[in-house]
């Protein structure tokens, strides 16, 4: 009896390790500093995690499809700069600037998807090249200048980054909605299963008649769409710095992003130096991936001689 209980607890730990870690962190920080679980603080963390989180949702698809996307960071600044510039352009205005920016960002995603999906080039190098190219494009476009909206009070553009609905910040609502839609897309639809198949075993997927190229192309389009959404929010609040993170399922991505957000916040509230979080993030990334691999192979240490 006790034995099966231990086993089932072990099973939960193995399957939901990342969730357990999340809860432990929350409890630990809350004991350390009660202000940590204050409702305002929690909302603040979720709000500032939203941009990173939305980008990570898209990257999840790319990674599960067996590829990488290093270009999301530079794509984010591209989309933010473009939407701000078009917003200030009298020919566009906010109502046209947003679809135009989405179209341009999706074009970049289509280039990634075409090169990696249809031409089958290595995703690390392609997106590395795109990182550099998009960076250059953004600098050329903006002339190295910062973009600002001149009359910040006369536009409804700020609603995406600063607004609230029913007391919940809009970025959080967008994050939750996108996570729900993309989570269902990945877990419950044929397309989602094709993404797993292509990432898991491309040869078997091809033999099963799955159009690998199109599936990979779509993962990059989803990634670009998420980046464009994140760029819109970023531009709308004109603050924040992009980062990379996330793998596995949408659920794990969300938890992973929240863990990083809460740890950052918890370390600050605990009175530690800002940069300590870099080191802690390093340790967490490696521990998380290591434990994931260790559970899969059933051994803690790698069998490499």
């Amino acid at each position: 009896m006790a034995d099966t209980a231990v086993k089932s607890i072990g099973g939960v730990l193995a399957r939901q390790g990342i969730l357990v870690a999340f809860i432990l962190f929350m409890v630990g920080f809350a004991l350390w500093n009660p202000r940590f679980i204050d409702i305002d603080n929690v909302f603040g963390v979720v709000r500032s995690s939203a941009i990173l989180g939305i980008m990570a949702l898209g990257v999840t698809f790319v990674v599960i499809g067996g590829n990488l996307d290093l270009s999301v960071g530079s794509m984010l600044s591209f989309s933010a700069i473009v939407v701000l510039d078009l917003h200030e352009n009298p020919a566009f205005g906010p109502a046209l600037a947003i679809p135009a920016m989405f179209a341009m960002t999706l074009t970049l995603g289509a280039i990634n998807g075409f090169l990696i999906g249809y031409l089958r080039l290595n995703s690390l190098i392609v997106t590395l090249g795109m990182l550099s190219a998009i960076h250059g494009l953004t600098l050329t476009y903006s002339g190295g200048q910062n973009m600002d909206i001149a009359n910040q009070n006369e536009t409804w553009f700020g609603v995406f980054g600063r607004g609230t609905a029913l007391g919940i910040p809009i970025p959080v609502l967008i994050f939750v909605a996108l996570a729900a839609v993309l989570g269902i897309l990945l877990a419950k639809t044929p397309f989602g299963r094709k993404v797993y198949a292509v990432g898991g075993n491309p040869t078997a997927a091809t033999f099963s008649g799955i159009p690998r190229a199109r599936v990979v192309f779509m993962t990059y389009m989803i990634s670009a769409f998420c980046v464009a959404t994140a760029g819109l929010i970023q531009a709308s609040r004109t603050m924040g710095a992009p980062l990379l993170g996330g793998s596995g399922t949408i659920f794990k991505t969300v938890i992973g992003v929240l863990i990083l957000g809460f740890i950052q916040n918890g370390l600050l509230l605990a009175g530690l130096e800002f940069y300590v979080q870099f080191v802690v993030t390093w340790i967490i990334i490696i521990l998380a991936v290591w434990l994931d691999i260790a559970t899969k192979r059933g051994k803690l240490w790698s069998p490499i001689a």
């Binding site: 190098i125 390093w282 290591w290």
Partner: protein, 333 residues
């Protein structure tokens, strides 16, 4: 058979042909648009070019070895900054100051030791946990950068020692110290990769890890040795550069990993491991630096450099794929 020789020639010669093309193009274009009065190809500017490519070049040599071995290291930029900080800061320690100029070699040793240690940490984690080197060093890129900032906050670390500056600016046959160090590293690591058992094993492991294990090669220690090597080279790069400049900014070295990887890939090293050459990387490093200077020479904006290099990188990848395509019977996945 003959086809293979042609292919090999194309693969190894392509980067040098590209360099030659750049030299001619920028020389002609510079005159055509008469934007610059100086010639592009004079001796002084070429020597300077070699010196300027040294910091990234030394790191790119290490990156070549790690990539041939089937791994990658994204943490080199942070290692470079931390080694630089340790070197300059150690010169300010009381016992080091008491030693006068004889403390300089000791400071260099501290820096090189730091680099080796950071490389060792990466190598051991990759070996023992089995986590992909990409993830391990992506984490370390953050973690080591955190250490850089924790050392001195956002303040620059500086120590100006004229003996050290003189050393860094000394020159033999017009080549300044960083350029000499760069060329020496290219030569030594080239010898290691082509003439030693370790080099041969590194190729074998990168080409087919399982076969290498079956052949009795101990994969782990080779991984660790190569990570220590790239850590050492990142620190050596910092030693060569900061001895002359005397000041480290905590943001220094950011994006170095991207430039190094770009140079390595341009030089023909396979991302999947098992193939590549140090000499090719030398070509890749020179090609990138030439492009920077060349675009500047014809009066293009500095921002366009990123755009051009990104495009070239993807084009090279595409051409390489087309040239090295396996038989038509290969499954199209």
């Amino acid at each position: 058979m003959q086809n293979d020789t042609v292919k090999k020639l194309v693969r190894n010669g392509a980067i040098w042909a590209f360099i030659l093309f750049q030299l001619v193009f920028f020389e002609v274009a510079g005159r055509w648009w008469s934007l610059s009065d100086g010639a592009f190809m004079d001796m002084d500017s070429m020597l300077l070019l070699l010196k300027q490519s040294a910091p990234i070049g030394i790191i790119a040599v290490g990156m070549t070895v790690v990539m041939i071995n089937g791994n990658i290291d994204l943490s080199v930029g942070a290692t470079y900054a931390l080694a630089g900080i340790v070197m300059l800061d150690s010169m300010n320690w009381p016992f080091m100051q008491a030693m006068g100029d004889s403390a300089i070699p000791l400071a260099w040793l501290f820096a090189l030791f730091t680099g080796c240690l950071l490389g060792l940490i990466n190598g051991v984690i990759v070996w023992k946990t089995g986590v992909d080197a990409f993830i391990v060093t992506l984490g370390a890129m953050l973690g080591y950068r955190g250490l850089v900032f924790m050392y001195n906050g956002e303040q620059p670390t500086y120590h100006l020692n004229w003996t050290m500056v003189d050393f860094a600016e000394a020159s033999i046959l017009g080549l300044q110290t960083p350029a000499i160090v760069f060329l020496a590293v290219v030569l030594i690591v080239w010898l290691v990769m082509t003439r030693t058992i370790h080099g041969r094993n590194a190729y074998a492991i990168g080409d087919n890890r399982e076969a290498a294990v079956n052949a009795g090669i101990r994969v782990g220690p080779h991984f660790v040795l190569n990570f220590v090597l790239i850590g050492f080279l990142a620190a050596l790069s910092a030693v060569a550069f900061y001895s002359g400049s005397g000041s480290v900014n905590p943001n220094d070295g950011m994006l170095f990993e991207l430039w190094a990887i770009t140079a390595v890939v341009l030089g023909g090293t396979k991302l999947t491991g098992g193939r590549g050459s140090i000499i090719g990387t030398l070509g890749g490093v020179i090609a990138i630096q030439l492009l920077r200077r060349g675009l500047n020479h014809i009066g293009a904006q500095t921002e366009t450099v990123n755009l051009v290099i990104g495009t070239i990188l993807i084009a090279v990848l595409f051409l390489d794929r087309q040239l090295n395509r396996k038989g038509a019977e290969e499954l199209k996945v």
